[in-house]
Symmetry: D2
Subunit: 290 residues, 4 copies
């Protein structure tokens, strides 16, 4: 079972230079300490000779207490193999902030998943550069903070946002059609923790007005792309993409309409993978253990 | 342009035995009366020799007043060709009732489209056989009426529902994962005006628990089907279907999770086609002029 | 019925500035002369105010003899509306030349459709810049001509190719993974009659080695694009596109392997639309009446 | 890298009751004997508590000689865990027989992949119940044997076929639109080694004329399904499925035409997974380690 699992589990994400025996060593570590492995997936990038692994196991009866697992693993295994690793516990819910501007479709989709219990995540706040979507936030009972941004106040406003996010222990951020470029300084506070949805099949049509460009180019398929945000606009590691067929009958307005459905589903799929700790970024590419 | 059009328009949906010259006659009727055709689509079913047509034109400067168009068209054209036809005006919003039970994903998706103005439709009420989703309805400010149904009270409750629907001038009904079979008597009050979402790729896995059946059969793709409701359960004319890939890794819970996204998008796509007056039912099949 | 039709038919493709009454006039012309319309599709590009139409009718009992239809139509209808039009007859098979280099998958796919009678088309010759695929051509019994091309002899070789194509009455050309840029002069001999397959989801990854670029960018979907060839490389009007999901597990070799299937199906789909006279090019976009 | 790998490798496919430590034990076995693991994938079916694993490693410098690996693995690992396993070597090409009737599209697709070197497989013979496709086989230089089958001679003819297949050391069989039911006795000679393509999205439309049934039902998507053949017609474990959108415009002939492309791609995808030793059957479901 991949989806929801009511048992208390730990998830370990690892990457390191490829070497013999890694899988054996890691599974031995879990087995020897009485962990029951639920899921294990590994991948070797043959071009870069890098080893990637995700393993998820039940904590019940595990000999090492949760707060010590990292230390033990690092000492006994990770250090030896030069591993970069993270451990996550099912009992600690991720805390997600949502950034929006004026379009509501992604916001509705995210909030309805949270409110209905589809996702095991907390949303302490929504941040916007406009007032427009306050009523949506209110309908779902989530605090809504507005930070209007212009060329002059951008850095100052971003600093306030970061402070607010840190105060709320936000662990990751969703840009749900947030129409404002985030500064590199901001991004550096949340490396690989900011997920954007771009309304095109990247790398086609980066930047502004992709549906207009798609219409003009006469493509027969449009797409949407969710990716981690990096300092290079629309160039970050891709998590999920999807597409929909269009035809000569479709106007720009039709593309925008069809695109809305794509955007919200693609963004939410990426958020799901992120929440489930199924994503690993390496060399501007995303491993998605799905 | 197919999408939103701010001008006042009329849409005519026609079918009749195929004969020579129908397109010419209908377009002549519109042209001669100063109508500017925006969209025209026709289809001939060669097996049944039936002609289908949808035409949409601007009413500005149209010589015949809106309320007389039907009469004129019937007298001058429809009678001669044995046409079955309907005319719709963009200025008269369809009124949609939503039936739900306990699952919220389709309801959220429908209501967010209405509330955000994505659809030009009115939702005077939500009907359920359970209390569970009242908070969702309240969040969107829509009246929510509960009619608990059991074997004994079914007919009586349905009669009350019909009365309520008629009182609210409801023109069509969405079954948004409503887990209760509608009686033939009820259906006859709303012929081809009740849209259901079934959580399988019909005709595969009709009836209850299709995701469990799909898992058991080991299919590699699951689907969802929206259709008009007829007296034969899950046998009505199909409006929209879509699918998603699955693998051996997916548990029944994963199928249910992936299926939710399909269901809401497929149902909403069908509702959109219906609202846009792009659907025509003939012989248990649906013409969708998209 | 869209597919194969054994009756003798004519197909008219039209475009002109949008005006009232065009559909009525054209259908009247066919009706009055005893033509039975099988398919009619029209489209108005609202941004450009251009009208497009495809109509296909049975010639049996048509009052105007086939060779005179063009003249009559032009005189009575087309001239008045400023129409650009073409007429095609089902009885005259299109003659297709195939250009290849070293990869065989598209060639096999095209030839097997021709040999099995799936397409009603003649292939008088295959042209290549390499010897490699001669055995494939021989297996299917089609003449194979090699024109090695380098920077010095390019113009001269192209002139010979054009002469050969004209001598064989070739009406259109398929570039089936032909790895050589065609000159503008060559293209001008076959405007909108040269179909290429590009192994990416254009406009993403134009030019050389798109699978390597796709791998490097870490996209989650790859595509293929068939388009009419214009003087701007990989910029011509798109006929068909399709995509396939990939994952982090896929190496460049896997993308190439998965891409082969896409390429051949997408190219053959475009050829089918072209042969069926379902395509109209306007403003670097393709109307596909499918 | 998943695709072609020029190095000599072994592939082990395993299933057994789920127990702790299996992955560790198997990888240890390979590591300790100097094997370099290229790919490892495992899956636990939580409903059945069954463990599945595929592991592929380089044989160069492996301490155990190829012909002894099975014995050593069985003695040291498999027996202890109650494993059912198979080992395959990249140096031993699978030998595939193709069964056909009158339709050629799948046959062309299979043979062109073999002839072009896309697949590392041998095709010693093609068997048919009709003469029609002999020229196709001849074009590709493959022996073609006809066994006309009727109610009376069926058993006798099948026995001859089996003998012929065994004489040619055929390891698996492709039914490439072979329109004749295979007997249970025949199937038992090749358990999970006969791959069929059914021209519908199973379990929808099993049996004869699925495109006609799909048309009649008015579905909006059609599919194709490749599966291992079992004694229950069209009920065997599914390997690959795919679908394509259709509309009300599509006649039965259009469905057949669109279906052909689906059928050949789906069948060839299944054959590829089989050749690559990526498939494991359990409980009428197929694990595909892709």
């Amino acid at each position: 079972m991949k989806g929801n699992n009511s048992k208390s589990t730990a998830t370990l994400l690892i990457h390191c230079p490829d070497q013999k025996g890694i899988v054996a060593k890691v599974t031995e570590f879990i087995d020897n300490n009485n962990g029951n492995i639920i899921e294990l997936d590994e991948h070797v990038d043959r071009e870069e000779d890098v080893f990637f692994m995700r393993v998820n196991w039940e904590l019940q009866n595990f000999l090492i207490p949760a707060e010590k697992i990292g230390e033990f693993f690092d000492t006994q295994i990770a250090a030896k193999y030069g591993m970069i690793w993270n451990i996550y516990f099912s009992e600690k819910k991720p805390r997600m902030a949502i950034f929006v501007s004026k379009m509501s479709h992604c916001l509705y989709d995210l909030l309805s998943r949270v409110q209905s219990g589809e996702w095991d995540v907390e949303v302490p706040l929504i941040i916007s550069n406009h007032e427009d979507l306050r009523p949506v936030a209110r309908g779902f009972g989530i605090p809504f903070q507005v930070f209007p941004i212009n060329a002059e106040n951008k850095r100052e406003q971003e600093m306030k946002e970061i402070e607010l996010l840190k105060n709320h222990n936000v662990s990751f951020i969703i840009l749900a059609r947030y129409m404002q470029v985030i500064s590199e300084e901001f991004i550096n506070h949340f490396p690989n923790q900011i997920i954007n949805i771009h309304h095109s099949f990247l790398p086609a049509f980066p930047g502004a007005k992709p549906y207009h460009s798609a219409y003009k180019r006469g493509v027969k398929i449009i797409g949407a792309t969710s990716h981690y945000v990096t300092a290079d606009l629309d160039e970050g590691p891709i998590i999920v993409q999807d597409v929909v067929n269009i035809s000569h009958k479709d106007s720009v307005e039709d593309l925008i309409r069809k695109g809305r459905d794509l955007e919200k589903i693609v963004l939410s799929s990426a958020v799901y993978q992120h929440i489930q700790r199924r994503t690993l970024v390496y060399n501007n590419r995303t491993i998605v253990f799905s």
